[in-house]
């Protein structure tokens, strides 16, 4: 389990600026970042377009498009999604506990630009919630700002589940696929994004597009927050320029050699890391898990699948039955039952696209890439001898 005290920077510290000295209160925030310029809606849209800013919660949707999708009038709320439901991710609670004013600047600045009367901050972590509440007492933003604690389940972090929870309902995605920009908080147009997106917006508003683009990729300049964990000597959150080589981050964190899971539990496996660079959409919410070579990969994957299956909100049949079947398939395959392998392939075809949210799709992506990248291990296990390694729980996976 990593703590938010382990923070590091490769290159220039932007969203993490000043956090190595502890939490930034309003005074330290202002002396570190300067004050937030008052920008119009048009300014924000142009800035986001110029730097190709993408949401940092996982889906990597372009922020400029989200802004353009909002109606000209009647935007009800700006929602900061800090539910950080990926079990390994720590970046959002780190920002909220160490640099709450930067996140608030991003949300408040945008709310003023959009004419939205409400700012809602959904937080799962108690320390993060306290930090934001304390920060709010130091400011006067002339808006209705609310901090709400939401449940920590995996699927509860999905945008529409967060909106449902904020309205006092169950933290599960509704059956109809509606866009928050059209029907969000109380069915009214809403701008919702991840905590880091707002911190990046606050940096972008200050630096302008040229200053913002002085580091990182040409296609998506700036910095990004990554959470690294697993078989590494120094787990934690790192700020890096976008496009940084994966190997640089692995070396920097003291990762053991071995396969890497990129993008969290809905992500993809990589057997080889040379030449891989880190940017959206591939890094998703920025989670990098090193497997190392001392543990049984198939056992680890089965554990994560068990966890993913337990996190299904229990609403949609193919998700509930499909994920449970996949847990069973992988457990059988690991002990050498070839029928488990066949069933896994069939079930992986039955799960994607058949739920109210992307949980079955993400789980299928994780397992399909596991079968591809660990084919040698699979074949070995199918001889019935296993790999002789214990299952260390490097990836986490149980509650």
């Amino acid at each position: 389990m990593i703590t938010v005290d382990d923070t590091r920077v490769i290159g220039e510290a932007r969203v993490l600026a000043g956090t190595d000295q502890g939490r930034l209160d309003l005074l330290r925030h202002r002396s570190t970042h300067g004050s937030l310029p008052a920008l119009t809606r048009d300014d924000y849209t142009k800035l986001c377009e110029a730097v190709g800013l993408r949401g940092r919660g996982g889906a990597a949707f372009p922020v400029a498009l989200k802004l353009q999708d909002l109606p000209a009038r009647g935007v009800e709320a700006v929602v900061v999604n800090g539910s950080e439901s990926e079990p390994v991710s720590r970046k959002d609670r780190l920002l909220l506990t160490r640099s709450p004013h930067l996140v608030l600047d991003g949300a408040v600045g945008l709310a003023h630009a959009l004419g939205a009367p409400h700012v809602l901050i959904a937080v799962h972590d108690a320390r993060a919630a306290t930090s934001v509440r304390e920060a709010l007492m130091e400011r006067d933003d002339r808006l209705a700002i609310e901090v709400q604690e939401t449940p920590g389940r995996f699927v509860a972090g999905e945008a529409r589940a967060v909106l449902s929870a904020l309205e006092g309902g169950a933290a599960v995605p509704p059956g109809r696929r509606v866009l928050p920009t059209r029907k969000g908080y109380h069915r009214r147009p809403t701008f919702l994004s991840n905590v880091e997106t707002f911190a990046q917006l606050a940096v972008l508003a200050r630096l302008g597009s040229r200053g913002f683009s002085s580091t990182g990729l040409i296609s998506e300049p700036g910095t990004q927050l990554l959470t690294i964990d697993g078989a590494v000597r120094r787990p934690g959150v790192i700020e890096t320029p976008t496009g940084v080589p994966l190997d640089t981050v692995l070396q920097y964190s003291g990762a053991q050699a071995g396969p890497v899971l990129l993008g969290g539990y809905h992500g993809r496996w990589l057997q080889r890391t040379e030449g891989v660079t880190l940017q959206r959409p591939e890094v998703s919410a920025g989670i990098i898990l090193a497997l190392g070579s001392d543990t049984c990969p198939l056992g680890e994957i089965t554990r994560v699948t068990q966890w993913l299956s337990s996190q299904s909100a229990g609403q949609c049949g193919p998700c509930v039955f499909g994920l449970a079947a996949l847990v069973d398939d992988f457990a059988r395959l690991t002990v050498g039952d070839p029928q488990g392998w066949h069933d896994a392939h069939r079930h992986l075809g039955l799960v994607p696209g058949r739920g109210a949210c992307a949980h079955p799709d993400g789980t299928a992506r994780f397992l399909t890439s596991a079968l591809e990248e660990f084919d040698d291990d699979v074949q070995h296990h199918l001889t019935g001898q296993g790999c002789g390694r214990p299952v260390l729980g490097v990836l986490g996976g149980t509650r």
Binding site: V172, P173, P174, G175, R176, Q315, C316, G317, P318, C319, F321, G322, L350, R354, G355, A356
Partner: protein, 65 residues
């Protein structure tokens, strides 16, 4: 164009729909519908509407966009 859609939070896997439009809906091993995903032609429209009305969970929709 018309397409069938399922609200998965409502569907209980009754399987009635598959009986009414077997060319467009199959059932998986758990009894839940698998949509073929193709367009509903004018000739099939009345059967598709019947299936939508027959769904006891109000989970099936005919979407035209």
């Amino acid at each position: 164009m018309n397409k069938l859609e399922i609200d998965w939070t409502r569907c209980d896997g009754h399987g009635l729909c598959a009986g009414l439009v077997p060319d467009d809906i199959l059932l998986d091993e758990w009894g839940f519908p698998v949509l073929r995903g193709r367009e509903i032609t004018a000739g099939e429209l009345s059967d598709a509407r019947r299936a939508v009305l027959a769904c006891p969970a109000l989970a099936l929709r005919l979407n035209n966009r």
